[in-house]
Protein backbone atom coordinates (compact mmCIF):
# COMPACT_ATOMS: atom_id res chain seq x y z
CA UNK A 1 0.00 0.00 0.00
CA UNK A 2 2.61 2.60 0.99
CA UNK A 3 4.15 1.91 -2.43
CA UNK A 4 1.07 3.31 -4.14
CA UNK A 5 0.81 6.22 -1.75
CA UNK A 6 4.44 7.17 -2.25
CA UNK A 7 4.23 7.02 -6.00
CA UNK A 8 1.11 9.16 -6.17
CA UNK A 9 2.56 11.69 -3.78
CA UNK A 10 5.76 11.82 -5.78
CA UNK A 11 3.94 12.25 -9.09
CA UNK A 12 2.10 15.27 -7.65
CA UNK A 13 5.24 16.81 -6.21
CA UNK A 14 7.09 16.66 -9.53
CA UNK A 15 4.02 17.28 -11.69
CA UNK A 16 4.00 14.02 -13.63
CA UNK A 17 0.60 14.73 -15.12
CA UNK A 18 0.84 12.00 -17.71
CA UNK A 19 1.34 9.23 -15.15
CA UNK A 20 -1.02 10.20 -12.38
CA UNK A 21 -4.15 8.59 -13.76
CA UNK A 22 -2.52 5.20 -14.17
CA UNK A 23 -1.08 5.42 -10.67
CA UNK A 24 -4.40 6.31 -9.09
CA UNK A 25 -6.17 3.61 -11.08
CA UNK A 26 -3.71 0.99 -9.99
CA UNK A 27 -4.11 2.06 -6.36
CA UNK A 28 -7.89 1.76 -6.70
CA UNK A 29 -7.45 -1.66 -8.35
CA UNK A 30 -5.50 -2.77 -5.31
CA UNK A 31 -8.43 -1.65 -3.20
CA UNK A 32 -6.84 1.30 -1.55
CA UNK A 33 -9.57 3.56 -0.18
CA UNK A 34 -10.05 6.77 -2.17
CA UNK A 35 -10.14 8.77 1.09
CA UNK A 36 -6.74 7.40 1.90
CA UNK A 37 -5.39 8.35 -1.52
CA UNK A 38 -6.58 11.90 -0.97
CA UNK A 39 -5.54 12.25 2.66
CA UNK A 40 -2.30 10.29 2.69
CA UNK A 41 -0.96 10.94 -0.81
CA UNK A 42 -2.51 13.96 -2.46
CA UNK A 43 -2.86 16.45 0.38
CA UNK A 44 0.63 15.79 1.77
CA UNK A 45 1.89 16.01 -1.83
CA UNK A 46 0.40 19.45 -2.34
CA UNK A 47 1.64 20.51 1.11
CA UNK A 48 5.15 19.58 0.03
CA UNK A 49 4.67 21.54 -3.20
CA UNK A 50 3.57 24.57 -1.19
CA UNK A 51 6.64 24.31 1.02
CA UNK A 52 8.99 24.09 -1.96
CA UNK A 53 7.30 27.13 -3.47
CA UNK A 54 7.63 29.08 -0.21
CA UNK A 55 11.33 28.38 -0.01
CA UNK A 56 11.94 29.27 -3.65
CA UNK A 57 12.89 25.74 -4.65
CA UNK A 58 10.17 25.70 -7.30
CA UNK A 59 8.37 28.50 -9.20
CA UNK A 60 4.90 29.13 -10.63
CA UNK A 61 5.16 26.75 -13.67
CA UNK A 62 6.11 23.80 -11.48
CA UNK A 63 3.37 24.60 -9.00
CA UNK A 64 0.77 24.86 -11.78
CA UNK A 65 1.92 21.50 -13.16
CA UNK A 66 1.54 19.90 -9.73
CA UNK A 67 -1.96 21.31 -9.42
CA UNK A 68 -2.91 19.99 -12.86
CA UNK A 69 -1.57 16.60 -11.85
CA UNK A 70 -3.50 16.61 -8.61
CA UNK A 71 -6.71 17.61 -10.40
CA UNK A 72 -6.36 14.83 -12.94
CA UNK A 73 -6.01 12.33 -10.13
CA UNK A 74 -8.90 13.85 -8.20
CA UNK A 75 -11.16 13.62 -11.24
CA UNK A 76 -10.85 9.85 -11.05
CA UNK A 77 -11.69 9.82 -7.37
CA UNK A 78 -14.50 12.37 -7.26
CA UNK A 79 -17.30 10.08 -8.51
CA UNK A 80 -16.38 7.47 -5.92
CA UNK A 81 -15.91 9.98 -3.11
CA UNK A 82 -19.25 11.65 -3.82
CA UNK A 83 -21.09 8.33 -3.42
CA UNK A 84 -19.67 7.96 0.06
CA UNK A 85 -20.23 11.69 0.86
CA UNK A 86 -16.83 12.11 2.46
CA UNK A 87 -16.84 15.19 4.65
CA UNK A 88 -15.26 18.46 3.55
CA UNK A 89 -12.89 20.37 5.76
CA UNK A 90 -14.85 23.61 5.38
CA UNK A 91 -16.14 25.99 2.72
CA UNK A 92 -14.13 28.90 1.40
CA UNK A 93 -15.00 31.64 -1.07
CA UNK A 94 -12.01 33.14 -2.86
CA UNK A 95 -11.75 36.03 -5.32
CA UNK A 96 -9.61 38.86 -6.60
CA UNK A 97 -11.12 42.21 -5.66
CA UNK A 98 -12.81 44.81 -7.89
CA UNK A 99 -10.54 46.49 -10.44
CA UNK A 100 -7.86 43.83 -10.20
CA UNK A 101 -7.35 41.17 -12.84
CA UNK A 102 -4.32 39.39 -11.42
CA UNK A 103 -5.28 35.82 -10.73
CA UNK A 104 -2.23 33.60 -10.79
CA UNK A 105 -1.60 33.96 -7.07
CA UNK A 106 -5.29 33.60 -6.29
CA UNK A 107 -5.51 30.48 -8.46
CA UNK A 108 -2.57 28.92 -6.65
CA UNK A 109 -4.31 29.64 -3.36
CA UNK A 110 -7.47 27.96 -4.69
CA UNK A 111 -5.53 24.93 -5.89
CA UNK A 112 -3.75 24.50 -2.59
CA UNK A 113 -6.98 24.88 -0.62
CA UNK A 114 -8.68 22.31 -2.83
CA UNK A 115 -5.65 20.12 -2.50
CA UNK A 116 -6.04 20.36 1.26
CA UNK A 117 -9.62 19.11 1.10
CA UNK A 118 -11.59 22.34 1.42
CA UNK A 119 -14.64 23.03 -0.67
CA UNK A 120 -13.64 26.15 -2.60
CA UNK A 121 -15.86 28.53 -4.53
CA UNK A 122 -13.65 30.54 -6.85
CA UNK A 123 -15.53 33.66 -7.92
CA UNK A 124 -12.76 34.81 -10.26
CA UNK A 125 -11.34 38.32 -10.70
CA UNK A 126 -12.64 41.88 -10.62
CA UNK A 127 -15.47 41.02 -8.21
CA UNK A 128 -17.51 43.91 -6.90
CA UNK A 129 -18.49 44.18 -3.29
CA UNK A 130 -22.24 43.69 -3.82
CA UNK A 131 -21.84 40.41 -5.68
CA UNK A 132 -19.45 39.19 -3.07
CA UNK A 133 -21.79 39.99 -0.19
CA UNK A 134 -24.66 38.25 -1.99
CA UNK A 135 -22.50 35.17 -2.43
CA UNK A 136 -21.45 35.17 1.22
CA UNK A 137 -25.09 35.37 2.31
CA UNK A 138 -26.02 32.58 -0.07
CA UNK A 139 -23.19 30.13 0.63
CA UNK A 140 -22.38 31.03 4.24
CA UNK A 141 -18.73 30.03 3.87
CA UNK A 142 -16.43 29.51 6.84
CA UNK A 143 -13.75 31.67 5.29
CA UNK A 144 -13.59 34.44 2.70
CA UNK A 145 -10.23 34.81 0.92
CA UNK A 146 -9.44 38.08 -0.85
CA UNK A 147 -6.55 38.68 -3.23
CA UNK A 148 -5.18 41.99 -4.57
CA UNK A 149 -1.98 42.72 -6.49
CA UNK A 150 -2.38 46.41 -7.15
CA UNK A 151 -1.87 49.17 -4.62
CA UNK A 152 -4.86 50.85 -6.25
CA UNK A 153 -7.14 47.92 -5.45
CA UNK A 154 -6.03 47.39 -1.85
CA UNK A 155 -8.74 49.76 -0.55
CA UNK A 156 -11.32 47.36 -2.02
CA UNK A 157 -10.40 44.88 0.71
CA UNK A 158 -11.31 47.41 3.37
CA UNK A 159 -14.57 48.07 1.52
CA UNK A 160 -15.46 44.39 1.59
CA UNK A 161 -14.94 44.23 5.34
CA UNK A 162 -16.95 47.40 5.92
CA UNK A 163 -19.71 46.02 3.77
CA UNK A 164 -19.75 42.70 5.62
CA UNK A 165 -20.28 44.72 8.78
CA UNK A 166 -23.00 46.86 7.24
CA UNK A 167 -24.82 43.71 6.19
CA UNK A 168 -24.35 42.23 9.66
CA UNK A 169 -22.52 39.15 8.42
CA UNK A 170 -19.00 40.08 9.51
CA UNK A 171 -19.16 37.78 12.54
CA UNK A 172 -20.32 34.83 10.46
CA UNK A 173 -17.26 34.58 8.23
CA UNK A 174 -13.52 34.78 8.77
CA UNK A 175 -11.65 36.96 6.29
CA UNK A 176 -8.14 36.17 5.11
CA UNK A 177 -6.29 38.39 2.69
CA UNK A 178 -3.18 38.16 0.54
CA UNK A 179 -1.32 39.33 -2.56
CA UNK A 180 2.09 40.92 -3.05
CA UNK A 181 1.34 44.43 -1.70
CA UNK A 182 -0.60 43.13 1.33
CA UNK A 183 1.10 42.74 4.68
CA UNK A 184 0.34 41.97 8.31
CA UNK A 185 0.05 45.65 9.25
CA UNK A 186 -2.44 46.33 6.47
CA UNK A 187 -4.45 43.28 7.48
CA UNK A 188 -4.69 44.54 11.05
CA UNK A 189 -5.50 48.05 9.93
CA UNK A 190 -8.54 47.01 7.92
CA UNK A 191 -9.68 44.44 10.47
CA UNK A 192 -9.14 41.23 8.50
CA UNK A 193 -8.76 38.02 10.50
CA UNK A 194 -5.52 36.92 8.93
CA UNK A 195 -2.90 37.65 6.29
CA UNK A 196 -1.18 34.88 4.35
CA UNK A 197 2.05 35.43 2.51
CA UNK A 198 1.68 32.54 0.08
CA UNK A 199 -0.51 29.63 -0.95
CA UNK A 200 0.96 27.25 1.59
CA UNK A 201 0.23 29.72 4.36
CA UNK A 202 -3.30 30.17 3.04
CA UNK A 203 -3.91 26.50 3.84
CA UNK A 204 -2.50 26.75 7.35
CA UNK A 205 -4.49 29.88 8.07
CA UNK A 206 -7.71 28.36 6.74
CA UNK A 207 -7.15 25.31 8.98
CA UNK A 208 -6.59 27.57 12.01
CA UNK A 209 -9.49 29.89 11.27
CA UNK A 210 -11.89 26.99 10.87
CA UNK A 211 -10.62 25.18 13.94
CA UNK A 212 -11.48 28.45 15.71
Amino acid sequence: MSQHINKIQQAIVVGHHKEIEALVQSALDDEIAPELIVNAAMIPGMDAVGQKFSTGEIFVPEMLASAVTMNKGLDLLKPILQQGNSETKGTIIVCTVKGDLHDIGKNLVVMMLEGAGFEVIDMGVDINVENLIDKVKEIKPDVLGLSALLTTTLPEMAKVIESLKAHRVRDQVKVMIGGAPVDEAFSEKIGADAYGKDAAEAVQIARQLIAG
Binding site: A65, T152, A180
Partner: protein, 336 residues
Amino acid sequence: MNSAGYQLFMSAMFKGQKGERPPTGTPTSIACHDLMDATGVSFPDAHLNASAMAELALGGHEIIGFDTVMPEFSVDQEVAALGADVDWGDRNMMPDTKSFLYEDFSDIAIPDNFMEEPSMRVLLDALTILRRHVGGSAAVIGKAMGPWTLSYHMAGTQNFLLQIGLGETDKVRKMVEQLMPVTIASVNAQFQAGADVVVVADHATGNLISPIHYAELLLPYHKELTRQIDGPTILHVCGNCTDRLHHFCEAGFNAYHFEWQVDAREAVEIVADKMVLIGNVNNPQVLLQGTPEDVYNQARYAIDAGVEIIGPECAIPLKTPLENLKAIVAAVQEGY
Protein backbone atom coordinates in the same frame (compact mmCIF):
# COMPACT_ATOMS: atom_id res chain seq x y z
CA MET B 1 31.04 67.92 -18.46
CA ASN B 2 28.00 70.17 -18.72
CA SER B 3 25.50 69.28 -15.98
CA ALA B 4 22.38 69.20 -18.17
CA GLY B 5 20.31 66.15 -17.34
CA TYR B 6 20.62 64.82 -20.86
CA GLN B 7 24.39 64.64 -20.72
CA LEU B 8 24.47 63.17 -17.24
CA PHE B 9 22.00 60.47 -18.23
CA MET B 10 23.58 59.56 -21.54
CA SER B 11 27.06 59.49 -20.05
CA ALA B 12 25.82 57.21 -17.27
CA MET B 13 24.20 54.91 -19.84
CA PHE B 14 27.70 54.18 -21.14
CA LYS B 15 29.45 54.22 -17.77
CA GLY B 16 31.16 57.40 -18.93
CA GLN B 17 32.42 60.42 -17.13
CA LYS B 18 30.54 61.39 -13.97
CA GLY B 19 29.12 64.88 -13.62
CA GLU B 20 28.24 66.89 -10.54
CA ARG B 21 25.44 64.57 -9.55
CA PRO B 22 23.92 61.22 -10.50
CA PRO B 23 21.20 61.44 -13.15
CA THR B 24 17.58 60.58 -12.39
CA GLY B 25 15.44 58.64 -14.75
CA THR B 26 12.64 56.20 -15.09
CA PRO B 27 12.16 53.84 -18.03
CA THR B 28 8.69 52.84 -16.78
CA SER B 29 5.50 54.83 -16.27
CA ILE B 30 5.62 58.09 -14.32
CA ALA B 31 1.85 58.54 -14.59
CA CYS B 32 0.08 59.39 -11.33
CA HIS B 33 -2.97 61.43 -10.38
CA ASP B 34 -0.90 64.37 -9.11
CA LEU B 35 0.92 64.60 -12.42
CA MET B 36 -2.34 64.24 -14.35
CA ASP B 37 -3.75 67.15 -12.39
CA ALA B 38 -0.63 69.24 -12.89
CA THR B 39 -0.51 68.64 -16.66
CA GLY B 40 -4.26 68.58 -17.27
CA VAL B 41 -3.96 65.22 -19.04
CA SER B 42 -5.64 62.06 -17.82
CA PHE B 43 -6.13 58.40 -18.72
CA PRO B 44 -7.25 57.03 -21.12
CA ASP B 45 -6.27 60.07 -23.26
CA ALA B 46 -2.63 59.65 -22.39
CA HIS B 47 -2.66 56.20 -24.03
CA LEU B 48 -4.64 57.16 -27.11
CA ASN B 49 -3.60 60.62 -28.20
CA ALA B 50 0.00 61.51 -29.05
CA SER B 51 0.02 65.08 -27.75
CA ALA B 52 -1.70 64.07 -24.49
CA MET B 53 0.79 61.23 -24.12
CA ALA B 54 3.74 63.56 -24.68
CA GLU B 55 2.28 66.19 -22.36
CA LEU B 56 1.99 63.79 -19.42
CA ALA B 57 5.46 62.37 -20.05
CA LEU B 58 6.90 65.87 -20.21
CA GLY B 59 5.57 66.50 -16.70
CA GLY B 60 8.09 63.97 -15.44
CA HIS B 61 10.88 66.30 -16.57
CA GLU B 62 9.36 69.75 -16.24
CA ILE B 63 7.35 69.29 -13.06
CA ILE B 64 9.16 66.55 -11.16
CA GLY B 65 12.61 67.27 -12.50
CA PHE B 66 13.69 63.88 -13.85
CA ASP B 67 16.36 63.79 -16.53
CA THR B 68 14.28 61.50 -18.75
CA VAL B 69 10.87 61.46 -20.43
CA MET B 70 9.09 58.20 -21.30
CA PRO B 71 5.62 58.32 -22.86
CA GLU B 72 4.31 54.76 -22.81
CA PHE B 73 2.21 54.32 -19.66
CA SER B 74 0.72 50.92 -20.46
CA VAL B 75 2.07 47.53 -21.44
CA ASP B 76 -0.50 47.10 -24.18
CA GLN B 77 0.52 49.26 -27.16
CA GLU B 78 2.01 46.36 -29.15
CA VAL B 79 -0.66 43.77 -28.33
CA ALA B 80 -3.37 46.24 -29.33
CA ALA B 81 -1.60 46.62 -32.68
CA LEU B 82 -1.49 42.83 -32.99
CA GLY B 83 -5.26 42.73 -32.72
CA ALA B 84 -5.93 42.03 -29.04
CA ASP B 85 -8.96 43.63 -27.45
CA VAL B 86 -7.59 46.20 -25.00
CA ASP B 87 -9.64 48.00 -22.38
CA TRP B 88 -7.88 51.37 -22.11
CA GLY B 89 -9.23 51.95 -18.61
CA ASP B 90 -9.76 55.33 -17.03
CA ARG B 91 -8.15 57.77 -14.60
CA ASN B 92 -8.15 55.10 -11.88
CA MET B 93 -7.44 52.03 -13.92
CA MET B 94 -4.51 51.00 -16.04
CA PRO B 95 -5.34 49.36 -19.39
CA ASP B 96 -5.70 45.65 -19.70
CA THR B 97 -5.81 43.04 -22.44
CA LYS B 98 -9.24 41.44 -22.57
CA SER B 99 -8.63 38.59 -24.99
CA PHE B 100 -5.84 36.15 -25.58
CA LEU B 101 -5.49 35.61 -29.30
CA TYR B 102 -3.24 32.56 -29.19
CA GLU B 103 -4.28 30.55 -26.15
CA ASP B 104 -3.97 27.47 -28.36
CA PHE B 105 -0.36 28.32 -29.31
CA SER B 106 -1.26 28.30 -33.00
CA ASP B 107 0.93 30.20 -35.47
CA ILE B 108 0.98 33.92 -34.83
CA ALA B 109 0.10 36.19 -37.71
CA ILE B 110 1.88 39.53 -37.44
CA PRO B 111 0.20 42.17 -39.62
CA ASP B 112 2.74 43.72 -42.05
CA ASN B 113 1.85 47.23 -41.08
CA PHE B 114 1.40 46.74 -37.36
CA MET B 115 3.72 49.66 -36.59
CA GLU B 116 1.15 51.87 -38.33
CA GLU B 117 -1.74 50.69 -36.15
CA PRO B 118 -3.14 53.55 -33.99
CA SER B 119 -1.69 52.29 -30.69
CA MET B 120 1.86 52.23 -32.12
CA ARG B 121 1.47 55.41 -34.15
CA VAL B 122 0.50 57.28 -30.99
CA LEU B 123 3.66 56.18 -29.25
CA LEU B 124 5.94 56.99 -32.19
CA ASP B 125 4.37 60.41 -32.62
CA ALA B 126 4.66 61.11 -28.91
CA LEU B 127 8.37 60.29 -29.02
CA THR B 128 8.84 62.70 -31.91
CA ILE B 129 6.97 65.47 -30.07
CA LEU B 130 9.06 64.88 -26.96
CA ARG B 131 12.29 65.00 -28.95
CA ARG B 132 11.29 68.40 -30.33
CA HIS B 133 10.56 69.67 -26.81
CA VAL B 134 13.39 68.31 -24.74
CA GLY B 135 16.01 67.07 -27.21
CA GLY B 136 19.38 67.81 -25.67
CA SER B 137 18.04 68.67 -22.22
CA ALA B 138 16.35 65.41 -21.18
CA ALA B 139 16.83 61.93 -22.55
CA VAL B 140 13.89 60.53 -24.51
CA ILE B 141 13.19 56.91 -23.57
CA GLY B 142 11.06 54.55 -25.65
CA LYS B 143 9.54 51.34 -24.31
CA ALA B 144 8.82 48.01 -25.96
CA MET B 145 7.55 44.71 -24.60
CA GLY B 146 9.96 41.81 -24.97
CA PRO B 147 8.88 38.52 -26.56
CA TRP B 148 8.28 36.89 -23.17
CA THR B 149 5.86 39.54 -21.92
CA LEU B 150 4.18 39.58 -25.34
CA SER B 151 3.71 35.82 -24.96
CA TYR B 152 1.92 36.40 -21.63
CA HIS B 153 -0.47 38.65 -23.50
CA MET B 154 -0.91 36.29 -26.43
CA ALA B 155 -1.44 33.04 -24.53
CA GLY B 156 -2.52 34.35 -21.12
CA THR B 157 0.14 34.46 -18.43
CA GLN B 158 -0.96 31.43 -16.46
CA ASN B 159 -1.50 29.33 -19.57
CA PHE B 160 1.97 30.25 -20.84
CA LEU B 161 3.60 29.42 -17.50
CA LEU B 162 1.70 26.15 -17.24
CA GLN B 163 3.20 24.95 -20.54
CA ILE B 164 6.64 25.42 -19.03
CA GLY B 165 5.59 23.39 -16.01
CA LEU B 166 4.21 20.66 -18.24
CA GLY B 167 7.51 20.48 -20.09
CA GLU B 168 6.08 21.79 -23.37
CA THR B 169 9.17 23.87 -23.98
CA ASP B 170 8.98 23.59 -27.78
CA LYS B 171 5.63 25.37 -27.74
CA VAL B 172 7.07 28.04 -25.50
CA ARG B 173 10.17 28.59 -27.65
CA LYS B 174 8.09 28.74 -30.79
CA MET B 175 5.85 31.45 -29.42
CA VAL B 176 8.75 33.54 -28.14
CA GLU B 177 10.55 33.17 -31.45
CA GLN B 178 7.50 34.23 -33.43
CA LEU B 179 7.14 37.37 -31.33
CA MET B 180 10.78 38.45 -31.64
CA PRO B 181 10.14 40.47 -34.84
CA VAL B 182 7.48 42.49 -33.00
CA THR B 183 9.89 43.60 -30.30
CA ILE B 184 12.69 44.29 -32.77
CA ALA B 185 10.47 46.33 -35.09
CA SER B 186 9.00 48.26 -32.18
CA VAL B 187 12.40 49.12 -30.69
CA ASN B 188 13.91 50.17 -34.00
CA ALA B 189 10.92 52.30 -34.96
CA GLN B 190 11.10 54.06 -31.59
CA PHE B 191 14.74 54.95 -32.17
CA GLN B 192 13.83 56.32 -35.57
CA ALA B 193 10.98 58.32 -34.08
CA GLY B 194 13.32 60.08 -31.68
CA ALA B 195 14.14 57.87 -28.70
CA ASP B 196 17.67 58.16 -27.30
CA VAL B 197 17.34 54.87 -25.44
CA VAL B 198 14.70 52.12 -25.48
CA VAL B 199 13.70 49.93 -22.55
CA VAL B 200 12.67 46.34 -23.21
CA ALA B 201 10.28 45.07 -20.53
CA ASP B 202 10.29 41.30 -20.33
CA HIS B 203 8.84 39.86 -17.14
CA ALA B 204 10.86 36.72 -16.58
CA THR B 205 10.78 37.63 -12.92
CA GLY B 206 11.68 35.69 -9.81
CA ASN B 207 8.03 35.90 -8.82
CA LEU B 208 7.13 33.76 -11.82
CA ILE B 209 9.91 31.58 -13.23
CA SER B 210 13.20 30.02 -12.19
CA PRO B 211 16.58 31.39 -13.25
CA ILE B 212 17.21 28.11 -15.05
CA HIS B 213 14.18 28.65 -17.23
CA TYR B 214 15.32 32.20 -17.95
CA ALA B 215 18.69 30.90 -19.07
CA GLU B 216 17.23 28.09 -21.18
CA LEU B 217 14.14 29.61 -22.69
CA LEU B 218 14.72 33.36 -22.92
CA LEU B 219 18.39 34.31 -22.64
CA PRO B 220 19.21 33.03 -26.16
CA TYR B 221 16.47 35.28 -27.55
CA HIS B 222 17.63 38.25 -25.53
CA LYS B 223 21.10 37.81 -27.01
CA GLU B 224 19.64 37.70 -30.48
CA LEU B 225 17.48 40.75 -29.76
CA THR B 226 20.39 42.90 -28.63
CA ARG B 227 22.39 41.74 -31.68
CA GLN B 228 19.65 43.06 -33.95
CA ILE B 229 19.23 46.41 -32.21
CA ASP B 230 21.82 49.13 -32.74
CA GLY B 231 20.77 51.73 -30.18
CA PRO B 232 21.32 51.64 -26.42
CA THR B 233 18.84 49.49 -24.49
CA ILE B 234 17.66 48.96 -20.94
CA LEU B 235 16.26 45.66 -19.70
CA HIS B 236 13.34 45.94 -17.27
CA VAL B 237 12.37 42.91 -15.21
CA CYS B 238 10.67 43.70 -11.94
CA GLY B 239 10.37 41.55 -8.85
CA ASN B 240 13.23 39.86 -7.06
CA CYS B 241 15.80 38.92 -9.69
CA THR B 242 18.94 38.62 -7.58
CA ASP B 243 19.22 34.96 -8.55
CA ARG B 244 19.36 35.71 -12.31
CA LEU B 245 21.33 38.96 -12.48
CA HIS B 246 24.39 37.10 -13.70
CA HIS B 247 22.33 35.78 -16.62
CA PHE B 248 20.99 39.25 -17.45
CA CYS B 249 24.61 40.39 -17.72
CA GLU B 250 25.11 38.04 -20.66
CA ALA B 251 22.09 39.27 -22.60
CA GLY B 252 23.75 42.32 -24.17
CA PHE B 253 21.59 45.13 -22.80
CA ASN B 254 23.42 48.32 -21.78
CA ALA B 255 21.47 48.74 -18.56
CA TYR B 256 19.14 46.99 -16.15
CA HIS B 257 16.20 48.66 -14.39
CA PHE B 258 15.53 46.93 -11.09
CA GLU B 259 13.44 46.80 -7.92
CA TRP B 260 14.22 47.52 -4.28
CA GLN B 261 13.76 43.79 -3.58
CA VAL B 262 17.16 43.37 -5.21
CA ASP B 263 19.68 44.91 -2.82
CA ALA B 264 21.56 47.71 -4.58
CA ARG B 265 24.93 46.77 -3.10
CA GLU B 266 24.54 43.17 -4.11
CA ALA B 267 23.41 44.17 -7.59
CA VAL B 268 26.40 46.45 -8.10
CA GLU B 269 28.69 43.66 -6.99
CA ILE B 270 27.20 41.06 -9.34
CA VAL B 271 26.77 43.32 -12.35
CA ALA B 272 30.13 45.09 -11.93
CA ASP B 273 31.17 46.61 -15.26
CA LYS B 274 28.83 44.52 -17.40
CA MET B 275 25.71 46.69 -17.17
CA VAL B 276 24.59 50.05 -15.89
CA LEU B 277 22.02 49.94 -13.07
CA ILE B 278 18.86 52.05 -12.90
CA GLY B 279 16.53 52.11 -9.91
CA ASN B 280 15.49 51.19 -7.35
CA VAL B 281 13.35 53.23 -4.94
CA ASN B 282 10.54 51.04 -3.65
CA ASN B 283 7.08 51.81 -5.02
CA PRO B 284 4.37 50.38 -2.73
CA GLN B 285 5.90 51.04 0.69
CA VAL B 286 8.10 54.06 0.07
CA LEU B 287 7.02 56.15 -2.93
CA LEU B 288 3.35 55.51 -2.31
CA GLN B 289 3.06 55.25 1.45
CA GLY B 290 6.35 56.63 2.75
CA THR B 291 7.54 60.16 3.49
CA PRO B 292 9.89 62.26 1.34
CA GLU B 293 12.53 61.41 3.91
CA ASP B 294 12.04 57.65 3.37
CA VAL B 295 12.41 58.23 -0.37
CA TYR B 296 15.50 60.34 0.15
CA ASN B 297 17.08 57.63 2.29
CA GLN B 298 16.50 54.89 -0.27
CA ALA B 299 17.77 57.07 -3.09
CA ARG B 300 20.92 57.89 -1.13
CA TYR B 301 21.40 54.21 -0.34
CA ALA B 302 21.30 53.42 -4.06
CA ILE B 303 23.71 56.26 -4.89
CA ASP B 304 26.13 55.16 -2.19
CA ALA B 305 25.91 51.60 -3.43
CA GLY B 306 26.99 52.74 -6.89
CA VAL B 307 23.70 52.59 -8.83
CA GLU B 308 24.33 54.90 -11.78
CA ILE B 309 20.84 56.26 -12.49
CA ILE B 310 18.32 56.87 -9.71
CA GLY B 311 14.55 56.50 -10.03
CA PRO B 312 11.46 54.48 -9.05
CA GLU B 313 11.73 50.68 -9.32
CA CYS B 314 8.87 50.21 -11.81
CA ALA B 315 5.68 51.88 -13.06
CA ILE B 316 4.65 54.06 -10.12
CA PRO B 317 1.31 53.56 -8.36
CA LEU B 318 -1.33 56.05 -9.56
CA LYS B 319 -1.73 57.55 -6.09
CA THR B 320 1.97 58.34 -5.65
CA PRO B 321 2.34 61.88 -4.23
CA LEU B 322 4.45 64.32 -6.28
CA GLU B 323 6.47 65.40 -3.27
CA ASN B 324 7.79 61.86 -2.91
CA LEU B 325 8.90 61.82 -6.54
CA LYS B 326 10.57 65.18 -6.06
CA ALA B 327 12.45 63.72 -3.10
CA ILE B 328 14.36 61.53 -5.58
CA VAL B 329 15.47 64.66 -7.41
CA ALA B 330 16.44 66.30 -4.12
CA ALA B 331 18.54 63.28 -3.18
CA VAL B 332 20.64 63.42 -6.36
CA GLN B 333 21.12 67.20 -6.05
CA GLU B 334 23.47 66.48 -3.18
CA GLY B 335 25.86 64.84 -5.62
CA TYR B 336 27.84 61.70 -5.11
